[in-house]
Symmetry: C2
Subunit: 258 residues, 2 copies
DNA sequence: CGAGTGCTTGAGCTACGTCAACCATAGTGG
DNA sequence: CCACTATGGTTGACGTAGCTCAAGCACTCG
């Protein structure tokens, strides 16, 4: 609902509502895009070594930026697939909902991640994408991206890498779910998150997790209670320190050794 | 199973060496490719609606076919990534090995599947691919495939769909591991396998699973004993009938209802 | 025939799920 | 400003699904 769209992302625009299902009805606000060439994330979104002309061509792919309110859907499962999205600010969870209504988190996305790739195959999004906090995304029509791929080799390679990494990411998660015990899963989750923050230049030992214990648990295939217990356990062992969503990793070697 | 395609496929080329398990050391036998246009699998590998010229271009991508002996690796984790493979005959498992030596199965591939996609991202294969029976694959150098993508739009789209489907497949597996109980996992596994056979024109109610209980269990995140128990349980309920690796699905609705 | 590999089944143990109570924080409405 | 409510987090008590360990059977292959 809200979403003040304003020239520039004013944070006062955040305006929470109450009610499990009936909140944040209007999700998404389009905005004008600032050119990619001026974007701090360019190194994550774009292949390097483009010519000026190519760079302009890439700029033109993003003809829209959207902001998504906390709790709102960027897209939902089964929505027709048209665009992929670069997450430019904020964090997002991907969820699949079972026929029985339970939902399963299949991914967390942070700044610099590309979303929506699972929709290409069947022309519909397979999972939904829900903002964990106010987000801004660049909207990239997939048709146009494919066209650009044909013309500009590095763009093609970049896309393929992004997709492949998504596959690899899921593989490694599969391994976690298949073979690790709860404590190890939580440890691996923290390390993975930290590594991604590090890669983006954020503090990787001290950060705030945007997701709840329930969401982490769903992602890791354990309950929220177990998740909480594992955080407590890690804290007792002086391996991490948590206070709500705030985490500090005290001994990342120990985490990795679990 | 075996492949009558005969004139060639010299099994004499098989030349064992010593490795972790000391069997099947030399894995792979190159062969000349038969043109794709004459391949029964063309509808799975290729986009439809290609012009004659385009079709020939695609044919030229496959300049090699290999056979892989049972138990042999088509590629191993960390091998440098050069090719993707179309599985033309047989079945293959994808495995990741932990540092502690345990291995986790992350996928089963049957005729018509594309393998190796997880290697694009980092230039090295993330998982290994082990033949569950004698296999033949078409070798497609990825560079050449990318070139063809740039030139022929339908090829590009086809590749993107394949990759996206791989992502989707893993997502759905994640859901199984995250939320289902052992019996449901086994049921979902059978249904999924049956559906894939059906799509390829094989009998989907009566088939033989090429993988062991242990491999199924690893894939599903349960032990081989539990896998076996679940098969027994399903048999008691007259939902499926198994005899070793041979399965008959008696009541696929019941399977889906679990 | 013996050895190797895979499958089944039982008995006991345990990691984790379930249920439930309670606390903290933050937004909300009088 | 202070209850009031909603949401998220922590912790305990208890039950159980699935793991571990172990034994025995069925095939296949040399």
């Amino acid at each position: 609902m809200q979403l003040v769209d304003a020239p520039s992302l004013p944070s006062f625009a955040f305006n929470p509502v109450a009610d499990a299902n009936h909140r944040f009805l209007t999700d998404v606000t389009p905005r004008r895009a600032t050119p990619c060439s001026q974007c701090a994330l360019a190194s994550l979104c774009h292949p390097a070594n483009l010519t000026l002309v190519e760079r302009e061509r890439v700029d033109s792919l993003v003809h829209e930026t959207r902001t998504v309110a906390r709790g709102a859907n960027l897209y939902r499962a089964n929505d027709p697939f048209h665009n992929v999205y670069m997450l430019r600010h904020g964090s997002i969870k991907s969820v699949i909902v079972h026929r029985d209504g339970r939902e399963q988190v299949t991914g967390f996305h942070i700044v610099g991640d590309m979303l929506g790739l699972d929709g290409i195959g069947r022309g519909r999004h397979l999972s939904g994408a829900v903002a964990l906090e106010r987000c801004t995304v660049c909207v990239i029509p997939f048709d146009a991206l494919e066209d650009a791929c044909s013309e500009i080799k590095p763009v093609q390679q970049h896309l393929h890498r992004m997709m492949s990494r998504e596959i690899a990411r899921k593989s490694s998660l599969l391994m976690q779910l298949g073979t690790m015990r709860a404590e190890q899963r939580v440890a691996a989750f923290l390390l993975h998150l930290a590594a991604r923050y590090a890669k983006r230049g954020y503090d990787s030992t001290d950060f705030t997790m945007r997701m709840t214990r329930g969401e982490i648990g769903s992602y890791l295939g354990i309950t929220l209670e177990t998740t909480s217990r594992m955080f407590s356990k890690l804290q007792q062992q002086k391996i991490v320190k948590t206070r709500g969503k705030q985490v500090r990793i005290l001994d990342s070697d120990a985490l990795a050794r679990l």
